[in-house]
């Protein structure tokens, strides 16, 4: 009798527990629903400010329907298994900050690579800042997406390239639905852009929580060359969620060097969706430096449509606290005789978490492909985590594909060796970490970017030593 009672009792507790968990789950679903509904219902307000009779708007409306159907990604999706946006989505975001916010250059100078002359396309809370920008129409267009989408002289380019390679997934669709502002870069044939272009999105934090959705389009025509730096920077500790979509087209013989500097405040999250299409003999490199932010998700996709293409994907991630950085890469080898090189280094301290999911697809026609992928990680703390997943799908039979993935700790013998020579533990660790990540920095072509990243790494590791002599 007694035994039976206790049995019933335990069952009751189990039921209570389940209910509690169920409520938490419902709560989260509710948060997602609320934000989704808020976004969808704000679409009408968004339509007030744009031309709703254009073909672009049909694309937007279709994308909105797609997002309505898909909703925000959840961990149930394979691609989002290790990255949860739950903690971010519970913020009460103001969706279209419509106040004109201004900032002084002196206050934000440090976020620019300011020791070289550059073109600048700068946005504050999603709105263009002519004051901080330096755009051009002189022989090339380095300007605004909003003008490109509305003015007739850009119509042909927009028709050919806008939303042509962006996936129809949830967050890309959401971005497309509200696509209006961002950087528009179009470099004609044979032009070597003499100055680097900086695309910077500042958020002022004047709202408790800000959501922005920049949309960039970069078209580099035959034999043209351009270097681009992209940065998203919050100026306060208020919550920010940025989901940016960038479409990049490299025509025959084009060269693009793209640098993404991700060193945002602790409460800012970023979902970066970059889609790159390359034609014959083109070379595109993307370096992603992830040191800051709350949750950072990089979806970097390369599509090789031509022969003798080279795609370079590199990244350094150094995070701590509860930071999370997720690199999802895709290189799609479609035609023969192309190369791709991936090298991602990650250093994870405290309770930080990392994800690397590198997918290489080699189509049957893509013979003589040379695809290389390397992902090395150091877990500095025993509380940090990395989920690494190389994914190779190879349908051709005459290819060279290699991938390597390592997860380890700092070499304690090397550390003792350095200490024995008088280098304190912290500096020794920093030197080892810098040396570990250095293979990624070697291919950075702009010296000022290289030295800035080196300084950011030193700051991040809390040391004051020059790494390179």
């Amino acid at each position: 009798m007694h035994a039976c009672h206790s049995c019933v009792g335990r069952n009751l507790i189990d039921v209570k527990d389940t209910l509690k968990r169920f409520r938490i789950k419902c709560g989260m679903t509710k948060v997602r629903m609320e934000l989704k509904e808020k976004i969808v219902s704000s679409y009408v307000a968004f339509e007030n400010d744009i031309d709703i009779n254009s073909e672009i708007h049909d694309i937007r409306t279709e994308a909105l329907q797609n997002f309505e159907k898909l909703g925000f990604p959840t961990k149930k999706l394979e691609a989002w298994k290790y990255t949860s946006l739950n903690s971010v989505l519970k913020n009460d975001f103001s969706i279209f900050p419509n106040k004109e916010n201004s900032i002084q250059f002196a206050d934000v100078k440090k976020y620019f690579i300011h020791d070289i002359d550059t073109y600048k396309v700068v946005f504050i809370d999603g709105k263009y800042s002519s004051f901080l920008s330096d755009v051009t129409h002189d022989g090339k267009d380095i300007c605004l997406m909003s003008s490109a989408l509305s003015k007739s002289k850009y119509k042909a380019v927009i028709e050919n390239y806008f939303n042509k390679i962006a996936k129809q997934d949830n967050l890309t669709s959401l971005n497309t639905a509200f696509a209006n502002e961002g950087a528009y870069i179009c470099i004609p044939k044979n032009i070597e852009v003499e100055k680097t272009i900086q695309i910077i999105n500042f958020t002022t934090g004047n709202d408790i929580a800000t959501m922005i959705q920049p949309r960039n389009l970069i078209v580099v025509e035959e034999n043209a060359h351009v270097q681009i730096i992209e940065r998203h920077q919050s100026l306060t500790e208020n919550a920010v969620l940025t989901y940016v979509v960038t479409e990049v087209f490299a025509a025959r013989n084009a060269t693009i060097d793209y640098y993404k500097i991700q060193n945002d405040k602790d409460n800012s999250s970023l979902v970066d969706n970059t889609y790159i299409e390359q034609k014959t003999n083109s070379e595109v490199s993307v370096h992603t430096f992830s040191f800051g932010g709350n949750i950072t998700r990089n979806n970097l996709n390369f599509y090789q449509r031509g022969e003798h293409i080279n795609s370079i994907l590199k990244g350094i991630t150094i995070i701590e606290g509860k930071q999370h950085v997720d690199h999802h890469t895709l290189v799609h080898h479609i035609e023969p005789n192309c190369e791709s090189h991936q090298d991602y280094k990650g250093i994870f301290d405290e309770r930080s978490t990392g994800v690397f999911n590198g997918k290489i697809v080699v189509e049957k026609e893509a013979q003589k492909t040379n695809a290389y992928q390397q992902n090395n990680n150091v877990l500095v703390s025993d509380k940090s985590t990395i989920n690494a997943k190389p994914q190779l799908e190879i349908f051709a039979d005459d290819v060279k594909c290699s991938h390597g993935c390592t997860i380890g700790q700092l070499d304690s013998d090397a550390l003792f060796y350095m200490q024995q020579r008088g280098i304190p533990k912290k500096e020794g660790k920093a030197l080892l970490m810098y040396a570990f990540a250095n293979t990624v920095l070697e291919s950075v072509k702009i010296p000022e970017v290289k030295s800035r990243i080196t300084k950011l790494i030193a700051t991040k590791l809390g040391v004051n030593i020059g790494f390179d002599l």
Partner: protein, 249 residues
């Protein structure tokens, strides 16, 4: 300079040093010899402050200061240098950057400014000539792909750069051919002065022909069981260690 009193130490609860006493004065060269497993490298590591060893009794003093609470880098700042038996390869860190960081961190600990670049370069040039080191080595990653002999020569080069008070050479002769041995020994001899001291740990008498010790100690089973002058090394070379073991029984 160095005073080791009744040192007992263990690793993973296995007792290695069992009451070791040693005193080294400035200007002296001491050789420590002994069979494998006697505790020679353990002694070197403990003086340098490597993790993983537990000192259960006794202490080590350097110029009157107890070393036990000091981190390895603090011991280095106080003038302790260990030439490693197996120098570590550190890919991505160049020799030059490494030595520059080591010197400037040591200076920082003493409240000094960084060494001016010009002075640093001059010193690198002089010391690399002393040890007949090809300067192109200095821009390569630390010890990476170096031969055994190159690594050892590089250790002595770093010693020359850091100018320690107490240098411990842990089997610096292993892996060296006769020419390299002479160069390394020559380097050590030139760095010797009345203000510093050297402890040479070796299996063989060979190195001691070039670096002549004032004292030779035999380390056996965690203790120094016999001390003599340079002739003891010759005797050990001729007779091996068995006779000492027998003497102890």
């Amino acid at each position: 300079m160095l005073k080791i009193n009744n040192l007992h130490a263990s690793i993973d609860n296995k007792s290695i040093l069992k009451g070791l006493n040693l005193e080294v004065k400035a200007g002296e060269v001491h050789a420590i010899m002994g069979p494998n497993g006697a505790g020679k490298s353990t002694l070197a590591n403990i003086i340098a402050g490597k993790d993983g060893y537990e000192v259960t009794e006794g202490n080590i003093e350097l110029n009157g200061e107890d070393l036990s609470e000091l981190a390895p880098e603090e011991r280095a700042h106080n003038g302790v240098f260990l030439s490693f038996q197996y120098p570590v390869e550190i890919p991505g860190v160049s020799e030059t950057n490494f030595i520059k960081t080591a010197i400037n961190e040591t200076r920082k600990a003493k409240g000094l400014e960084d060494m001016p670049a010009k002075e640093m370069l001059k010193m690198i040039r002089e010391k690399s000539e002393l040890l007949e080191i090809d300067r192109k080595f200095l821009s390569r990653s630390l010890n990476e792909g170096f031969s055994g002999g190159e690594k050892k020569r590089n250790e002595v080069f770093q010693m020359a750069m850091l100018e320690p008070k107490l240098a411990i050479l842990d089997e610096t002769d292993s892996g060296l051919d006769i020419d390299a041995l002479r160069i390394v020994a020559n380097g050590v001899n030139k760095l010797k002065s009345k203000d510093n001291a050297v402890i040479v740990i070796t299996h063989y008498q060979r190195l001691l022909e070039y670096i002549v010790p004032d004292f030779v100690h035999v380390l056996y089973d965690g203790r120094i069981v016999k001390t003599g002058d340079a002739s003891l090394a010759l005797e050990l070379e001729a007779k091996g260690y068995d006779w000492i073991k027998k003497e102890l029984v």
